[in-house]
């Protein structure tokens, strides 16, 4: 039984590596990008195999879905087939191959000795011990929004910074397409399902796998489907609403973190009886920010030019 499971693991890993190498080695990136999307989906399956369901949802939605979508949209404008594809046998290439080999040997040795010398102490015990005080019962959500909330605040700030960068220096995407009959029919069904699913994943993130980031990605997918049909929600909501929707994640976090300082004078230390509600408030605002930020990555700068944001 266990040998069969190991065989499945070996096959999954082998296919993963083959997909990654093919994505980079095929002649044209028109084939390479779908291979990369398949790589992402297989990785999501592997996360589920390795007892990481939160990561599986996030990888399928963000890593495979949204990243794949971004790459596909860029297919039209960036060169995808190189003429001199096989780099000539040159000193640089040999050097890089040698570096690759050395790194692989070093990593294997480090990983092996790290695993061997593990003394058995695991952080999961510390997290489980303090989980009842955190306000939620999903340990990953507790770590993300309570124990390591500062990291999540900075992550939302990174997302905001990326969107600001895209809106200021990025080239405009072509405008929303004309609605295809099949696509609009599909959207009539899929967008409500996506909205309900996103809301559910956000709510369920407190106790079961899920959370703000997965929900934000699902809702961003709904916004992108709307844009493909010609309803540009991201830019149709007006400038002030745009600013609020993009920054509400970071601002909400800072406000909550500052407000609890009145209680305990430590930034982001929630009082225990309020922890669940505060986490919910932060998650809702973070979901809205993530949704609009990810949808903005697919949008075109406003008509007045980048400076009018």
């Amino acid at each position: 039984m266990s040998a069969a499971v190991t065989l499945v693991d070996l096959v999954l890993s082998a296919v993963l590596i083959v997909l990654a190498c093919s994505a980079l080695a095929v002649r044209s990136l028109r084939q390479g990008i779908p291979l990369f999307i398949s790589f992402g989906l297989l990785l999501a399956l592997i996360w589920a195999r390795l007892a990481a369901p939160d990561l599986a949802i996030a990888e399928a939605a963000i890593g495979a879905g949204l990243t794949g979508g971004l790459l596909m949209v860029s297919l039209r404008e960036l060169p995808t087939a190189a003429n001199a594809f096989a780099v000539r046998f040159s000193a640089g290439r040999v050097l890089v191959d040698l570096l690759t080999l050395i790194l692989m040997v070093v990593f294997t040795y480090a990983f092996w000795s790290g695993l061997e010398s593990n003394d058995g102490g695991r952080l999961v015990n510390d997290v489980s011990a303090r989980l009842p005080e955190s306000g939620v019962s999903n340990p990953v959500t507790a770590v993300l929004l309570n124990f390591r909330a500062y990291d999540t605040l900075l992550e939302l700030a990174v997302l905001l910074a990326a969107v600001l960068g895209i809106r200021s220096v990025g080239a405009p995407f072509p405008g929303p397409g004309t609605a295809n009959v099949m696509l609009s029919g599909l959207s009539n069904w899929i967008v409500p399902v996506l909205i309900v699913t996103g809301g559910y994943v956000l709510w369920a993130g407190a106790d079961t796998p899920g959370g703000a980031f997965q929900a934000g990605a699902i809702l961003a997918a709904a916004l992108i489907m709307l844009r493909l049909n010609g309803h540009d929600v991201v830019q149709g909501i007006g400038l002030r609403a745009e600013r609020v929707s993009l920054s509400c994640g970071v601002m909400g976090f800072l406000l909550v973190g500052g407000a609890v300082m009145l209680n305990d004078s430590v930034f982001l230390r929630y009082p225990t009886e309020w922890a669940g509600s505060l986490i919910l408030v932060i998650e809702v605002l973070a979901t809205m920010a993530i949704t609009f930020s990810l949808a903005n990555a697919f949008a075109a700068p406003p008509a007045g030019g980048p400076a009018s944001v």
């Binding site: 295809n180 099949m182 696509l183 029919g185 599909l186 069904w189 899929i190 399902v193």
Partner: protein, 92 residues
């Protein structure tokens, strides 16, 4: 007994998936490949989900599996249409 039926269904579903993958690789034309993929993956996924539902044994799980199957079928059909549409416009 239930496990035997479930195992048989899952293996049949896997067989359909293999057939679809071979079709993707070996069929000559874009439309032929889309046909193979969508037809075969709907049936393959459906059989696999029925098999898993038999193993799980709960009605709620069966409803979720049914919803998943419907969503995959709908999005597969729409994507296949869009791809074929785009391809036919390309070759005009």
């Amino acid at each position: 007994m239930i496990e035997v039926i479930a195992g048989f269904l899952i293996l049949t579903g896997a067989g359909f998936f293999i057939a679809g993958s071979i079709g993707l690789l070996r069929l000559p034309d874009l439309c032929c490949r889309l046909h193979a993929l969508t037809k075969v993956d709907n049936l393959g996924l459906g059989l696999t989900l029925i098999g898993i539902t038999l193993l799980e044994g709960s009605v709620v799980f069966g409803l979720k599996a049914l919803l998943t199957w419907l969503l995959v079928m709908v999005s597969g059909a729409a994507s296949a249409h869009l791809i074929a549409n785009f391809d036919s416009r390309q070759t005009e």
